[in-house]
């Protein structure tokens, strides 16, 4: 009996949805846009997170020494820095600096050839990595101590710090924008879907009246509208996912996947989270549709 019921109710839901297919276009479209946007934010959020992680890995501060600095002074500073938590200081000898310089592809070959082992003006230095942005101030304090001042030729970290702050700000902004936009879109999508289901109920009001008069079980009257809402949501989710994949692959084709070592491979990110994103969208779509139906049914279907 339960199978007969499931079969008949599903058939009612599917047939009615098919009859209303043109009526449902706006609802499906707006749910699709909502889910697409949610998908874009998920991918963007992922990129922002990994970028800021990568950047944190890349917080390197460079201290370059005058030639007057003795090895003792350098070692002293290195030790003091290494005592700080989350700070790693690596010594760069003149040879290391030269090797680094020779491997830089962003400098012309002729320029690179100017500097040789015999004629090496490159300074010795300490390359300092911090695991967290917060450790930077401690590093700065140590480096700025009076005793080292005469020996330090250059202390540079500002560029990266600014960049990191910018990325953090961008991440925060993306999250805020995502919350606001998603809320607006979800509300609009619910309103449009609600309206569509309401029209579907209206167009079937005679049949609903007959169903009540002949003593139809409640589920025969109501569940088909839930199914209709769910079908809208699921079709919209499928379309939204396709659109997301297409957009990601287009994005990849017009932008370099790796920008200064940061992973911007939207398509790759999407593919590596294929089922999570698809499932998320299907679920969100179905919930959106069913929720809208529930409101309309409560309001307009009398038993």
């Amino acid at each position: 009996m339960i199978f007969t019921r499931i079969k008949r109710i599903s058939k009612l839901g599917i047939v009615n949805t098919w009859r209303n297919r043109w009526l449902s276009v706006p609802a499906v479209f707006i749910i699709m846009m909502t889910l697409f946007m949610m998908g874009v934010f998920v991918v963007l959020g992922y990129i922002a997170n990994t970028t800021s992680d990568t950047l944190k890995d890349k917080i390197t501060v460079q201290v370059d020494f005058n030639d007057s600095a003795t090895e003792d002074v350098i070692q002293n500073l290195q030790q003091k820095l290494s005592q700080q938590t989350g700070v790693i200081a690596t010594y760069i000898s003149k040879q290391d600096a030269l090797a680094d310089f020779k491997s830089r592809t962003d400098i012309k070959q002729e320029t690179r050839d100017l500097i040789t082992e015999e004629n090496n003006p490159l300074p010795r230095g300490l390359r300092i990595r911090t695991l967290d942005l917060d450790n930077l101030s401690a590093v700065e304090e140590v480096v700025r101590e009076k005793q080292f001042e005469p020996y330090i030729y250059k202390f540079s970290y500002e560029d990266n710090k600014l960049l990191i702050e910018r990325v953090n700000e961008a991440t925060k902004f993306i999250k805020k924008a995502a919350a606001v936009m998603t809320t607006i879109f979800v509300v609009v999508a619910i309103m449009v879907t609600l309206n569509t289901i309401q029209m579907a109920i209206y167009s079937r009001r005679d049949e609903i009246e007959i169903m009540r008069l002949v003593g139809a079980s409640q589920s025969y009257v109501k569940v088909p509208f839930y199914i209709e809402g769910a079908i809208y949501g699921i079709s919209a989710a499928t379309l939204a996912f396709l659109l997301l994949v297409l957009s990601a692959s287009y994005f990849n084709s017009v932008s370099a996947s790796y920008f200064r070592g940061f992973n911007l491979d939207a398509y790759g990110i999407l593919m590596s989270h294929f089922f999570q994103v698809l499932l998320l969208q299907l679920l969100a779509g179905a919930l959106l549709g069913i929720f809208s139906s529930a409101i309309s049914i409560r309001k307009y279907v009398k038993i």
Binding site: M1, T4, R5, R8, D206, E207, E209, I210, M211, R212, L213, V214, G215, A216, S217, Q218, Y220, I303
Partner: protein, 231 residues
């Protein structure tokens, strides 16, 4: 009142808030097993209201309506469908689904109450034969005469073997010949043991039937005649 009655209206009043109308005013009515009862009264007297209360489309403002020993005003929403299967109802405008055939209009009512396909296949042809529409099973309502449409709607009202069949002006849209067919069918259904409540304007029908007639006037009930069977 009447302990043997199957249906009892006990001091039933119905006020419509909208328009501040008192559609029924202190109605007392008892209907016995197997009765055929004719409900008459001028337009707006409250006939359809009485019927809507009996199928629990509306709740009375005050009073009780007992059906088979149970106060139907207290039925819970989820049990309503089961109550309604005991009460068949037909209307002046037939209320058939235009995109379903005669057969489908009738079988649909059974599908909606979880009847297995085998039962439906067995039952629908029998009911269609009873109302004389076996040959028209695959026609759509638009292809039928008014009388045939009304007989289709009667067939649909009978699928659950109701103890009560209510007809609200069933012949209002029919010519003389079709009216006679439908009334004849209602009489046969009544003879088989179903209570029939017929609301009508048609005084010719009232005269020819010789059944108990009750008259609503301004929401109040008056007995007009007891009917020949009872004399």
């Amino acid at each position: 009142m009447n302990p043997g009655a199957i249906i009892q209206f006990l001091n039933v009043t119905k006020n419509y808030v909208k328009g501040k109308v008192t559609a029924l005013n202190g109605v007392n009515l008892a209907i016995d097993k197997g009765e055929f009862i004719v409900l008459v009264g001028p337009s707006g007297a409250g006939k359809s209201t009485l019927i809507r209360l009996l199928v629990r489309e509306e709740l009375p403002s005050t009073g009780k309506i007992m059906v088979a020993g149970r106060d139907i005003t207290r039925i819970k929403e989820r049990d309503l469908p089961y109550y309604r299967r005991n009460v068949g109802i037909v209307f002046q405008d037939f209320k058939l689904l235009p995109n379903k055939t005669v057969y489908e209009n009738v079988s649909y009512a059974l599908e909606l109450s979880d009847e297995p396909d085998a039962v439906i296949k067995d039952k629908v042809p029998r009911i269609l034969r009873l109302v004389g529409l076996k040959e028209r099973a695959n026609n759509y309502p638009a292809e039928l005469s008014g009388g045939e449409r009304q007989r289709t709607s009667i067939a649909r009202a009978l699928v659950h073997n109701p103890k009560l069949l209510i007809a609200d002006e069933p012949t209002g849209n029919l010519d003389e010949k079709n009216t006679a067919e439908v009334i004849d069918l209602l009489l046969r259904i009544n003879e088989a043991g179903t209570i029939v409540l017929l609301a009508t304007h048609d005084l010719d029908i009232v005269r020819s039937l010789k059944k108990r007639v009750i008259c609503l006037n301004n929401g109040q009930l008056q007995l007009v005649s007891k009917g020949e069977d009872k004399k």
